[in-house]
């Protein structure tokens, strides 16, 4: 064993380095992540998770209504984060983090970074608004959307879309809220929108718990994949990648790379709503 002394020497490296390798979660630079949130609360968790992994600056007090679950009054803006230095979280978001530090900790597991993002929460917006504001501009035909609404994954009541925790209906919210680009929000705050979004769902695990058998779950999983496949493949994300990611990480989160974000920002179909302003 000629290299025995080398193996022994490596055994003597600093304990801090050894510990680091056990705890390390890589942060991917210049990647945007696609998220699903089943509710305002879930979205807030997602944002905090992103913040917790971000190596930029976040100074934002504008988290009013994050829990309200509407498209127009819940948002957070962390554009230009990547250009800045250390993360600073202030205001109400800081208070939320302080108050809920334990649940937020689970998100530290995710290797996540965001390119340049603003998120709005449309969990409680009505289906028509979501279609008009979010999905149509991205090229989804109305009949496709209606087909989805009638797919059994969605329940409409008084024009509101409801998610029932622990039931397959929870899966619904991901789809209508998936491409959240909300012109209503833009009108309300009087700025141009927006940067990224699609999201897939952590809440699917809850759905799974609500399924009575594996077959039911498989069917739902397949339908969600099929639905998202339509969008994601349009934007260069392969269905296989989503499945691989799902298998590898146990979540449905998928990844947008920088090139894709750049393409979205320059795409004629989406340029007006993906405009980055500062």
């Amino acid at each position: 064993m000629r290299c025995g002394f080398l193996i022994e020497a490596i055994g003597n490296i600093d304990c801090g380095i050894v510990d680091e390798a056990e705890n390390y979660r890589p942060v991917r630079k210049k990647h945007a992540w696609i998220w699903a949130a089943a509710s305002a609360a879930c979205l807030c968790l997602a944002v905090v998770m992103i913040f917790s992994r971000f190596d930029g600056v976040v100074e934002d007090n504008s988290v009013n209504g994050f829990w309200a679950g509407t498209a127009v009054n819940g948002y957070i803006d962390y554009r230009k984060i990547a250009e800045k230095g250390k993360v600073t979280i202030t205001g109400e978001l800081k208070a939320l983090i302080d108050e809920h530090s334990e649940p937020f900790d689970m998100f530290k597991e995710y290797p996540t970074n965001v390119f340049d993002v603003r998120i709005t929460d449309a969990g409680g917006a009505d289906a028509e608004t979501i279609y008009a504001a979010c999905l149509r501009p991205l090229g989804l035909r109305e009949e496709e959307y209606k087909r989805f609404l009638n797919s059994g994954l969605v329940t409409l009541s008084k024009k509101q879309i409801y998610a029932v925790k622990g039931s397959p209906e929870l899966a619904l919210i991901i789809a209508p809220a998936a491409l959240i680009i909300n012109e209503e929000y833009t009108k309300t705050v009087g700025r141009d929108t927006l940067d990224v979004w699609v999201f897939l769902n952590d809440g699917l695990d809850e759905v799974r718990k609500g399924c009575t058998n594996d077959g039911q779950w498989k069917e739902i999983e397949e339908r969600v994949l099929e639905f998202f496949g339509k969008y994601t493949e349009d934007y260069g994300i392969k269905r296989r990648d989503i499945i691989d990611y799902r298998e590898r990480t146990g979540t449905f989160h998928a990844e947008l790379d920088t090139e894709l974000v750049a393409r979205l920002l320059s795409d004629e179909r989406t340029k007006s709503i993906w405009t980055v302003t500062e």
Partner: protein, 184 residues
Amino acid sequence: MDDASIIELYFGRDEQAIRETAAKYGGLCFRVANNILGCREDAEESVNDAYLAVWNAIPPAKPDSLRAFVCKIARNQSLKRLEYNTAKKRLSGTLVPFSELEELLTDGSPPPDVSAEELGRLIGEFLKTQSADARCVFVRRYWYFDKVSDIAKRYSFGESKVKSLLSRTRGRLKRFLIKEGYNI
């Protein structure tokens, strides 16, 4: 139980310390031992030997990181057992990547006139200058002896990225050691 409390138990010569250590770090130690020995029974024995060694080492030792301390002892115990097994021609399914590390060696050169502690310190210094990705992948491979596929899974990298990081880091380490006067 937190590490400081476990260490206090060792200082108080309370055998509960070993049970707490096993509960907290037993799995990790076993994984390292099993990577080295490739044999469940041998790995379990090595880990048990490691607990005894930890019991004898603390006090006087008061490690800053109990996890790394215990794991290091388990690693050393397992490497000793591997050497013994190899001498006895007891074949094992070890994952220790000898051939990769031999790339760092100059053909036919004797071991350098430097202690393992000093060489370890130098390698640690070198690793601190590397990116976190490269550093952690190196440590996972050559300290914990994880498989490339397991490292890729752990860090959500592709296997080719892990191999590439390892190869480049080995190359840089070799150049670093030569520059420091250790043509190993």
